[in-house]
Amino acid sequence: MKQNPKKKNSFFEHLREWDEGNFDLTEAAMGELHPPRPERKHQNMDWVHHHLVRMEAREVSFFEHLYPFMAVILAAAMILFLLVVVSEMPAFGRADTPTNTSVVIKRYIGNGLEETGAVNIVAGVILDYRAFDTLGESHVLFTAAIAVFILLLQEHDEKEKQQDLRILKNDLILRKTATVLLPLIIMFGVYVILCGHLGPGGGFSGGAIIGGGLILYSMAFNTGNLGRVINMRSYRIIVLCALLSYSILKCYSFFCGANGLHTIFTTGTPGAIFSAGLILPLNTAVGLVVACTMYGFYSIFTKGRI
């Protein structure tokens, strides 16, 4: 920062100028090849230099005219390709397609309810048969959160905090709407997580809904209250406990070829809330990870810390 305090010639400067319309990316690319010349204050510029300048200008304008055409041609080719692929696809819901004749699919649809106990077959597939994939997804999200923290986490700045409060406070419409909507949003998120094995939903979507609710709270009211509950320390504890409990609950199944242990988590009666074996705790773990990570993203983006 100290070396380049005015952000001159930086990427954002270029981006801003480009957005305002008085800077051309093609010119920037040309400018890197040929560094910008000083202003022509002297009239006695030699002829070769003058000729070079004119050639460059002509090249730039040539590319300027070429880019839209190439973009249109590329987009048209892509659309054509996709339409051809769509026309080759089998009709929706036909009986002799691989999605209906595959042995795996028959097993999932035919025996899914008995083996997993989940009324929602999708939840049975992604959290019982294919639980390892979902564990990988949760870790992808966790890794993304770590990468964002590494990039954007910064030291607490007093001036920035005051600015934040000034912007976020005293919006009557936002506050009243949030007061009415927040309990419903959070409750719906919890419902979606807990009933993931009974109906549509699951850990990821429910966690995203709760994360959205937390973001709304943080926008509408003083962010300090939420910051006391979810700070860096509690974020670490929640996410690590959720991921670890997921791994520990499913590790036997991972190592023994998807054979479940006969534990207290039985398949139970389909349709009851405590049924479907491990799906309910796994959904809760995924939901906690997703909710905390979404709120963490928002908090890091706005304040530079959780």
């Binding site: 952000k7 801003r16 999708v122 109906g199 549509p200 959205g212 993203f297």
Partner: protein, 94 residues
């Protein structure tokens, strides 16, 4: 395929094109949110309620919020740059 689905699919195409074409980034983001909402309704019509809920929560909710915050940060950066340029001009005048 009834008339509501056709209208929704047409709206999807219009939203997709308008997102690319619109000059103002803020308008573009709002149209992108509308795109996600329409898409989630279409998932509902295609009998994929899991996807519908996820699309509504993630596509229309979280990702739009993150994009809005990014836009706000860019505007803040522009403002800071503008102030610096003004002060620089004043210094030069003085």
């Amino acid at each position: 395929m009834n008339i509501i689905e056709l209208v929704l699919l047409g709206l999807l195409i219009i939203c997709g094109i308008a997102t690319c074409v619109s000059r103002n980034l803020m308008v573009s983001l709002i149209i992108f949110m509308a795109y996600s909402v329409v898409m989630s309704i279409i998932w509902g019509f295609l009998e994929a309620p899991d996807l519908a809920i996820t699309e509504a929560a993630v596509g229309a909710g979280i990702s739009s919020i993150l994009l809005f915050i990014t836009l706000k940060k860019i505007h803040d950066m522009r403002k800071e740059d503008g102030h610096e340029a003004e002060s620089e001009e004043k210094e030069q005048l003085l």
